[in-house]
């Protein structure tokens, strides 16, 4: 018995990915994201030289190329920040719900934010970016709690199937309210629709600045929950046995995730599937330890959104396809692959 236990323990140690490998992956990921960010500044309807980029970063807007860069810089930063927020939020949500399909888009959180903003615009004269942030975050939070609550009713708790259905159904329900409110109001339906489509195109430093405090708190809360999420991964009962206050851990971590995706959604509109796909890819590379998984998901998420933004500018030249559409079209096949790979019993 004791001998077996030692062997098991040794097996676990051996099976763990060495820190070196993880660091390597982390380094590669950061480098790739930096490259993508650079590409995002350079690529566009007007190609610019590296000298222009350097000059523009220095604050110069002397020629059109530099001016183009000056416009692309906040856009790139916004894409990075939104991607970081969504990737991280997805990893936290999957940890909190122990559910591989948890994602702000699937769980109806985006639609919650949308409805809140539509109601705000239609009846409360909502127009400032800060107002959007608060309203979207509250809407996202309410929707998240609601979907999780109804998805976890009954036998078996929050199974992937029940959560996904609860999310899809709630989204459908919220969407019909959004349409009902915005359709007859010709004046606001344009605003609402452009927000619903989302994107990082209209980014400015001001909106990024307003989003920053939300993000900072969200990132901090999420990263600090990493160790607790590791205990939670063993199941509520075992986690409790290990001395974890399950409900508190869950609430705190979920708050972090909601802040992150609420803020990201408020500024960039609903962007689906980043939060779903990124943690899955990351788990393959750095394993299931949340202390690695969370930061890694943030970095990869940033890379994915920047890459999608660049792709959206390339495929529809001289126009552009919004980043939320690109991520959905890239992300849905991954979602389907995940569903196909899992055993039916665990759905």
């Amino acid at each position: 018995m004791t001998r077996a236990a030692t062997e098991n323990a040794r097996g676990v140690v051996v099976g763990r990915r060495p820190a070196r490998v993880r660091l390597l992956w982390f380094g590669i990921a950061v480098a790739v994201v930096a490259l993508l960010a650079f590409a995002s500044v350079v690529i566009g309807s007007r190609d610019v030289s590296i000298a222009d980029v350097v000059a523009a970063i220095g604050g110069s807007v002397d020629n059109t190329s530099e001016a183009a860069v000056a416009k692309r810089l906040p856009r790139t930063v916004l894409a990075l920040v939104v991607g970081l927020a969504l990737g991280l939020a997805g990893a936290v949500m999957q940890g909190v719900t122990r559910n591989p399909l948890a994602d702000p888009g699937i769980l109806g959180v985006n639609m919650g934010a949308s409805l809140a903003i539509v109601v705000g615009i239609a009846w409360f004269g909502l127009s400032t970016a800060t107002g959007y942030l608060w309203v979207a975050t509250v809407g996202a939070g309410v929707a998240a709690v609601f979907v999780y609550a109804i998805g976890s009713l009954g036998r078996g708790g929050a199974t992937p199937l029940k959560l996904a259905l609860a999310g899809a159904a709630t989204s459908a329900a919220l969407a019909s309210f959004v349409t009902a409110i915005s359709l007859p109001r010709g004046d606001i339906s344009g605003t609402v629709r452009s927000w619903l489509i989302g994107g990082v195109g209209g980014a400015g430093w001001t909106s990024i600045g307003q989003m920053a405090p939300f993000l900072a708190v969200g990132v901090l809360v999420s990263l600090l929950s990493a160790r607790r999420l590791n205990s939670l991964a063993l199941g509520d009962e075992l986690a409790t046995g290990l001395g974890e206050r399950v409900a508190v851990t869950r609430a705190v971590a979920a708050l972090g995730a909601v802040l992150l995706c609420g803020a990201a959604t408020a500024i960039a509109g609903p962007i689906a599937f980043v939060g779903l796909v990124v943690p899955h890819a990351c788990r393959l590379l750095v394993g299931v330890d949340h202390r690695w998984l969370l930061p890694f998901s943030g970095v990869v998420g940033a890379g994915l959104v920047v890459a999608s933004d660049v792709l959206g500018r390339i495929v529809a030249r001289p126009g552009e396809v919004d980043v939320g559409i690109i991520t959905a079209i890239l992300g849905a096949p991954v979602f389907i692959a995940i569903v196909r790979r899992r055993k039916v019993s665990s759905l």
Partner: protein
């Protein structure tokens, strides 16, 4: 075993008695639904901008000429009413078929991506290809069938495919909605009106030319579904048990899916996806008929009633005219949420 086993005849008598009670309830419910549909249909012919009397309406329906009413009732309201009933029946029967087959009330075509496929294709056809009229419908029908095929193939693996089919449908729906959003962002103001009809579902501008294909689809495919109702009923016991009872699962599923999707696609081509009708008709029917026997007919009737009354409400009750899809969407949403709560509490059957 207990000492005194009841006699065979006594058991037969008692079982038949409860059976007869249930059969009577079924007949009563179906008759009430039919009467309600006729009543709402009559109301829908009578009221509107100008209100006509019962006798005027009756004379128009019988083919006589009535001043003013002949055009308004005969040309505008009558096709609208018939179309409402036809698509309502189609959505209702197809929706409950999916729900029964996948043993999940949330597995209706509007949630698992079939309607989303038709909408996306229609939007694409209008905005990008610049099509209109019948061509758009053909596009939508083809897309609906194609999306179903893709979902079906992707979810088809050894063993039970029900839950997987639902989840893959949700994923596909998300992707298609993104595509629709993109098409919308490219649309001009004029095209937008045409596209929005395909997103919300509306009976505006209903004509006999629109009604006829949907009606033919209903007359052909409806009986196909009805002939499979016993197999569908057996499938509610789980695929293993149904197979043990002699149901050819794969074949039944294929026939039923094709027929149901055909109905959905033709109905959607006529009016756009009317939110939640396919989804709500089955559970509401189950509520009023009870869990026994096939739900196909009651659900079809409930579907017709929903569309018909949703349209009457949208046209007349508010000071603004709402398309029927908005009305059913807003009224259906709370029920949808209630239904998820109830379903999750009690396992996963209708």
């Amino acid at each position: 075993m207990t000492a005194t086993a009841p006699s065979l005849d006594a058991v037969i008598a008692s079982v038949s008695r409860s059976k007869a009670v249930r059969a009577r309830r079924r007949v009563v419910v179906i008759s009430i639904l039919a009467v309600l549909i006729m009543a709402v249909a009559a109301i829908s012919l009578m009221i509107g901008n100008t209100v006509y009397s019962v006798t005027d309406v009756a004379r128009v329906v019988l083919g006589q000429d009535v001043d003013g009413a002949s055009f308004t009732v005969g040309r505008l309201r009558l096709p609208r009413m018939v179309l409402a009933i036809v698509v309502g029946l189609s959505f209702g029967i197809a929706g409950v078929t999916f729900q029964t087959m996948l043993r999940n009330p949330l597995a209706s075509p509007d949630i698992i991506g079939i309607s989303a496929g038709a909408s996306a294709a229609a939007a694409f056809a209008i905005v990008v290809l610049g099509l209109s009229g019948t061509a758009v419908s053909v596009f939508a029908i083809t897309a609906g069938l194609l999306v179903t095929l893709v979902i079906y193939v992707l979810s088809h693996q050894a063993g039970s495919a029900g839950t997987r089919l639902i989840l893959i449908g949700i994923g596909i729906a998300a992707m298609l909605e993104a595509a629709t959003q993109y098409v919308l962002s490219q649309a001009g103001q004029w095209e937008l009106q045409a596209v929005l009809r395909w997103l919300t579902g509306s009976l505006n501008g209903a004509s006999w030319e629109q009604t006829l294909p949907a009606l033919i689809a209903l007359l052909v495919l409806g009986p196909v579904l009805l002939s499979r109702r016993h197999d569908l009923d057996a499938m509610r016991l789980g695929e293993d048990a149904a197979s043990a009872l002699g149901v050819r699962i794969e074949r039944t599923r294929l026939v039923v899916v094709i027929a149901a999707v055909g109905l959905i696609a033709f109905a959607t081509a006529a009016t756009g996806p009317i939110a939640f009708v396919a989804f709500l008709a089955g559970p509401i029917a189950a509520r009023i008929v009870g869990p026994h026997g096939s739900l196909l007919v009651p659900a079809a009737l409930v579907g017709a009633l929903l569309v018909l009354s949703g349209d009457v409400v949208g046209q007349n009750v508010l000071n603004l005219r709402y398309p029927v899809g908005i009305v059913t969407g807003v009224l259906g949403a709370p029920y949808l949420v209630y239904l998820i709560i109830r379903t999750n509490r009690s396992g996963e059957s209708l």
